[in-house]
């Protein structure tokens, strides 16, 4: 079940081969949803689901799909899965789906998914592909959660919508940094995370 290769497929994307920090995939839809923790986590779970199942489906189809039309087949599989996720969200968690607005739809063009389908699912059997999908989805979610944690904490003084910075801090002149809520700070936060990550993983540094 979990041979050495499968373990690598599952755990490497968490840090050493992280889709956001190292492969630089899936930045597009991810950063706009990180102003607070709840939408970030919902987005992460949606991506894990779509990525894992599209990996499995494409892996089953990998020998029957002609190479010329594989992009279209992949897009159809992804789009069908994304529509399912979108309908479930609208049905069970309407507020968050409103907050995420178009970004759930944009999972279709999320480069992580196309990237993993091309790089992994096209050459591997379903079970490792499933693990690879879950691993990469988790790696993506972790980064979303870290960014969202700092932005929500510093930007609005809350976590999951609960006040965590006590009132006496505000009484003594502490202020929430409104800049953290604005989109550009997501990029700068991510830049700092990359800085930290590469300082500890010297082999990833560029010249």
């Amino acid at each position: 079940m979990l041979s050495k290769k499968n373990k690598e497929a599952l755990f490497n994307p968490l840090s050493k081969d992280n889709p956001i920090l190292v492969q630089i995939l899936g930045i597009c839809s991810s950063l706009a949803v990180t102003a607070s923790l709840e939408p970030a986590i919902v987005m992460g779970i949606s991506v894990i689901a779509v990525l894992a199942f599209s990996n499995v489906i494409i892996s089953f189809l990998r020998k029957t799909v002609p190479t010329n039309i594989r992009i279209i087949v992949q897009l159809v599989v992804i789009a069908a899965l994304v529509i399912i996720v979108q309908q479930i969200l609208v049905a069970y968690n309407y507020d968050v789906s409103k907050k995420l607005s178009v970004f759930i739809g944009l999972i279709i063009t999320n480069c992580i998914i196309m990237g993993r389908l091309e790089a992994f699912a096209m050459h591997n059997s379903p079970w490792p592909s499933f693990l690879d999908g879950v691993g990469n989805g988790l790696g993506y979610t972790i980064i979303l959660v870290i960014v969202a944690f700092f932005r929500e904490l510093l930007g609005s003084g809350t976590l999951f919508g609960f006040k965590v910075i006590p009132q006496w801090c505000y009484d003594h002149g502490y202020m929430d940094n409104g800049l953290m809520i604005l989109p550009p700070m997501a990029l700068i936060t991510l830049g700092c995370i990359i800085w930290y990550h590469r300082a500890h993983n010297k082999e990833l540094q560029e010249n």
Binding site: L25, G191, I194, E206
Partner: protein, 205 residues
Amino acid sequence: MEELNLFIKSIFIDNMIFAYFLGMCSFLAVSKNVKTALGLGIAVTFMLVVTVPINYMLNKYVLQEGALTWLSPSLAGVDLSFLGLILFIAVIASATQLVEMAVEKFSPSLYASLGIFLPLIAVNCAILGAALFMQQRDFSSAWTATVYGAGSGIGWLLAIVGIAAIREKIAYSDIPKPLRGVGIAFIITGLMGIAFMSFLGIRLG
């Protein structure tokens, strides 16, 4: 006047890159020098001008609730909007293919200068994103939607050319090692985003 307002707004205030982070992947990958960045920017602008009105017509006459009434009054209750994603991406993928073939036939020199970037546009989030925002904002006519597409494209073009110019210069600076490459590109993009935010609240007419 309303169109001009929308045009300026979609270039500077609702900029695809700095306000919504759309098209980030190719933005970071292709922004190493100004010339290729300009080529990709023009290609993306062109695709937006072509696909946004097509998707607008699709949305208005096929997908929306009651949109099929023109076909037969009995279809007034049909709501196909859940099919939006799959149709939009199909339109974008096929438009990319068509544009690629047309450009290759009629202007080989432009085709040569765009090269690999044309097919890659199909998976550029900025284009699908514009289609989805168009659906959300409910524009009044196909012309308004075209203006929105053109504005978003030009905004994207400005952003990618700007960052490519900065990255060309920054190659000579002494940046901390872990930050080199992508790290500093992220931070520059963030700072440029803050600069673009100074356009917030501009109103015309």
